[in-house]
């Protein structure tokens, strides 16, 4: 029994190793540094959001005269002013980070898992399984992203969990294809042939030989999926399909847009837009830098 624990611990350690090396490699690239730091800030803000948000995101702010403080421009006690419903924009912004990251990370992990599963199985086993899975991927690739999401959220109801489910249903397809192509090249490697000849089980080969080598692509794909997930959640919320009981940035923009305050209340519209851009592009920065470091032909040899 102790022997298997020992081996699994070793395996976990070995699986973690590439992530550590990736991290160290990423640091050298200036873009990745920028991306990682911005992303890090978002994660910290998301974790400590309830404590640093000055007000409850939905609490109505009252003026001295007891009237609802609507569309107040930024002031000392409301750094980013208030919304058309008298809520504090800064608190909604901070709480919004929690939603964006929750959707982003959970959906990305789910997408990453399914893409890897489909990619590895169809890439490694090939034959009929490969055909079936690839035809399924073709079908999934032909479904227009947002319209499908609109129908699905209409069907399931506009809660955050449903949005995560819809995003997972939508984005596993691209990853599956990328990972499958990488697995195909790995499978042809000589040592895989030897291992097979030596009687190793499929699972053993996949875990020991195939998976570690494609971790690079999986990591890249998961980073991109976080960006897609945040982007799609924001678009869905903006279209009014988001969960109104939460304060995602897309939801803030939807409320601003629906209240016709888009042009007058810049302090209500600009911050969530900038947060979205910052978060998504920081992820793209990490993904891009990662791709350049690990793709020999792109590496900057100067």
């Amino acid at each position: 029994m102790s022997q298997t624990i020992h081996r699994s611990v070793a395996w976990v350690f070995r699986a973690l190793l590439p992530i550590v090396t990736t991290f160290r490699m990423l640091i050298q690239d200036r873009f990745a540094l920028w991306g990682l730091s911005i992303f890090g800030v978002f994660i910290i803000v998301a974790i400590i959001a309830p404590w640093i948000a000055p007000y409850d995101p939905f609490a109505p702010m009252m003026t001295e005269t007891g009237r609802l403080m609507r569309l107040a421009p930024p002031s000392s006690d409301h750094w980013l002013g208030t919304t058309a419903f008298g809520n504090d924009v800064l608190s909604q912004l901070i709480m919004g980070s929690r939603v964006a990251l929750r959707v982003g990370l959970v959906a990305a992990l789910a997408v990453g898992f399914i893409s890897t599963l489909v990619g590895v199985i169809s890439g490694y086993f090939g034959g009929i399984i490969d055909d079936i899975l690839m035809r399924m991927t073709d079908v999934a690739l032909s479904i227009p992203t947002l319209p499908f999401a609109i129908v699905a959220v209409g069907l399931l109801g506009p809660s955050v969990d449903n949005i995560i489910l819809v995003i997972t249903l939508l984005f596993w397809r691209n990853g599956a294809r990328i990972i499958r192509s990488v697995v195909l090249t790995e499978r042809e490697r000589v040592f895989v042939k030897w291992a097979r000849a030596a009687g190793a089980s499929h699972l053993h080969i996949i875990l020991k030989h195939i998976l570690p080598n494609i971790l690079r692509v999986v990591f890249l794909w998961v980073t991109m999926s976080v960006a897609f997930a945040v982007l799609t959640e924001a678009s869905l919320s903006f279209l009014g399909l988001g969960d109104p009981s939460i304060t995602s940035w897309g939801q803030m923009l939807n409320t601003a847009f629906a209240s016709g305050a888009l042009r007058s209340a810049w302090w209500w519209v600009a911050p969530p837009s900038l947060m979205l851009i910052a978060l998504i592009s920081s992820l793209y920065l990490i993904g891009r830098a990662y791709e350049e470091q690990t793709n020999p032909r792109l590496k900057d040899h100067s």
């Binding site: 227009p144 947002l146 924001a234 837009s273 979205l276 891009r288 793709n295 032909r297």
Partner: protein
């Protein structure tokens, strides 16, 4: 080559068939049904049955499915519940409006994107041009299309007031074909088109750039330069070779384009397929929504096929078994 095309077409038909089926069942198991709009107004139960029967919604789901698919083969998308006109007739004018921003947007975005990508890719490695090019492209790529839309609206329409922000033309404008060919329509087209172009540039730029960066280390580039041709011509060789990954990405990206365009149409009140699709889904107008999905699925599948064919034209090495 011919065998390949027929195989791909068969595959395409299968894919479109499956997508339409998925969409059909998704609409049918929606809790609300199209008569909801009238129930609120107090429609009697018998009247509701008459409507359901007229719209072919009263049989079992399986009967409805067979009926729908049967009609589909004969090109009949069924009548819209809301407009009571053939779904195709409802959608057709919207398709043209969407194409007005989708096609030029896609092409201009791809053209500008790849041109910039070539410049950034050809610039000295690690230089200022490369760094700022990549940073800018990544930031714009990070902006959701509605943020781009809102930004354009805020700056050009409300602050600078150069361009109208909404609709497709002045209410007094001419009608029929002439309405598309006049200055006023172009004036309204500018902002939504820019939003789509901006939505497209970053991907193209970054893909072309990495293509050019890879190509410039190739041996043939050295020989071309040795031939004493102009530097621009040498860059063209690198650019020409990096068009391949671009094309394979560009056409299938239509699935994402439609998503982006739906939001652009809503932000700019542009009467296109995307906006009508959202309205149709909210109204439970299945035939129109399904016709729109059918149309989008076909566009995407054809795009994939087009990508493969142009790929072979661009890269002679790819022979088709």
């Amino acid at each position: 080559m011919r065998a390949y095309i027929t195989r791909r077409l068969l595959q395409a038909i299968l894919v479109v068939f499956v997508v339409t089926t998925i969409m059909f069942f998704m609409f049918r198991i929606m809790p609300a049904d199209p008569t909801t709009m009238f129930l609120e107004g107090g429609m009697t139960e018998e009247a509701r049955q008459v409507l359901l029967e007229e719209w072919g919604l009263n049989g079992t789901i399986w009967e409805q499915y067979v009926l729908y698919m049967g009609n589909l083969l004969t090109g009949d998308f069924g009548n819209s519940f809301f407009y009571r006109k053939p779904a195709w007739e409802v959608l057709f004018p919207f398709i043209i409006n969407t194409l007005w921003i989708a096609v030029p947007g896609l092409l201009l975005g791809a053209f500008i994107g790849s041109a910039l990508g070539m410049i950034v890719g050809w610039a000295p490695r690690g230089g200022k041009v490369e760094r700022s090019g990549i940073l800018l492209a990544t930031i714009i790529r990070g902006a959701p299309s509605f943020v781009v839309g809102i930004g354009l609206l805020a700056v050009f329409s409300s602050y600078l007031n150069w361009v109208p922000g909404y609709g497709m033309g002045d209410p007094q404008g001419q009608t029929g074909l002439m309405r598309y060919l006049n200055w006023d329509f172009a004036h309204h087209l500018i902002l939504p088109l820019c939003a789509v172009i901006i939505f497209f540039i970053p991907e193209n730029l970054l893909l072309m750039r990495s293509g050019v960066v890879e190509a410039r280390t190739e041996d043939y580039i050295e020989l071309v330069r040795a031939k004493g041709v102009s530097e621009k011509r040498v860059a063209w060789h690198a650019g020409r070779n990096s068009m391949l990954p671009l094309i394979t990405w560009l056409f299938p990206a239509l699935a994402e384009t439609i998503a982006g365009i739906v939001v652009v149409e809503i932000v700019f009140s542009w009467p296109g397929v995307g906006r009508e699709l959202v309205l149709a889904v909210v109204r439970q107008d299945y035939p129109v929504a399904q016709a729109a999905f059918f149309l989008l699925a076909i566009m995407i599948v054809l795009a994939n096929l087009a990508a493969d064919l142009t790929y072979s034209k661009l890269d002679p090495r790819v022979a088709y078994k």
